[in-house]
Symmetry: C2
Subunit: 216 residues, 2 copies
């Protein structure tokens, strides 16, 4: 298995516990050791896009492809985060910021564990996405823009949210009554309109190979 | 590689997104697929013990051994949790409960990702440990009691905390001015006093083999 070296997003811990008992040394597993075991780099794929754009769908399809390649990946999305870790948070500005902060911190832990971790949240503001990027420090952070026209998202409306937003039943709905700041420098830009899910996922995987995160 | 089946701590997601666009199916990677890839079961090892008992030290030694066996493990401890995800929390009762809740939720995500995840926090109250256990639902939860006499912990005092607590400079310090409720039914009980770190770690690994979580 090819060894891929990588720095940890955390400062490396001291290998020796400051203890009066010299027998009790502490030997931490380094990120390098973990990368060596897994045979791919650890990275955070930060999917962003409108509600209904296909973030989770594409991310899941990419997960399937990574699994088939023996990569260790994990997807953080509304299903496992909003209903668990962040179930105490609502949709105020403050809570929205805290939501993104926690997701970023958890993603950082997964990167530290050596995984290919993906997050799939609308994350409409560039400032928030930049904050997540900054938190990961020198670790790999790739913004994946799932670029689907609003009209297409609205025609899908899988959860009936656009309909409610148009009826004024949901305030601050991204794309309708709140802005979505399209990424201008996303590392991976997926224009979904004329592509199948399969093609979208292949595009992401090809980018991971090109960036030498996974092997060809 | 032996396939080890395992249920997810999350309810399995529907494989089909409720979308008006039938082309956009959602195919989630199941916990079973992840377990199959990793060749070991996913489990949460919840280390508990006094400050200075050796929780992190033993947990790190176990991590090294798991790594050598090709297992995918990760340790959540003060270094990567208190300074990151939970850096907004203090030491009030409310914050302490929230601290444990978030740690449990993050551990649950790691179990869902198919890892052997360990947490190393004093977690002095049985109620809190039981809550973490309940949160994991049917997923594997093993309480690991790092059982070191108070006098030994105090003589080590790696961070000088016992000294400060005895001087009254730290309120509610576990073992001194706040109770530590020793587990009575811990799945793994490590009496460290007469053992080396190596022996403590071997004991935990042997338990994982005996419980068929990892292969012999």
């Amino acid at each position: 298995m090819t060894k891929i070296n990588q720095a940890s997003p955390y400062v490396e811990k001291s290998n020796v516990e400051k203890s009066s008992d010299v027998v009790w040394h502490q030997q931490s597993v380094t990120t390098e050791q973990k990368s060596s075991l897994k045979g791919h780099k650890a990275v955070l794929l930060w999917y962003t896009g409108l509600s209904g754009s296909g973030k989770s769908t594409v991310a899941n399809a990419v997960e399937q492809k990574l699994l088939a390649r023996g990569c260790h990946s994990y997807l953080l999305d509304g299903d496992n985060v909003r209903h668990g870790l962040n179930n105490d948070l609502g949709f105020t500005d403050e809570d929205r910021i805290e939501n993104i902060r926690r997701i970023s911190e958890v993603a950082k832990l997964f990167v530290d564990a050596g995984l290919l971790v993906s997050t799939a949240f609308i994350s409409p503001f560039q400032k928030d996405r930049d904050q997540a990027r900054a938190l990961l420090k020198d670790a790999l952070f790739l913004e994946v823009f799932i670029d689907t026209p609003l009209a297409v998202c609205e025609s899908r409306d899988p959860k009936g949210l656009y309909k409610k937003a148009r009826a004024g039943e949901i305030a601050n709905f991204t794309g309708i009554s709140s802005v979505y700041e399209s990424p201008t420098d996303a590392e991976i830009h997926v224009k979904t309109e004329s592509l199948s899910i399969e093609e979208c996922a292949e595009l992401v995987v090809a980018a991971l190979i090109e960036k030498q995160i996974i092997k060809a």
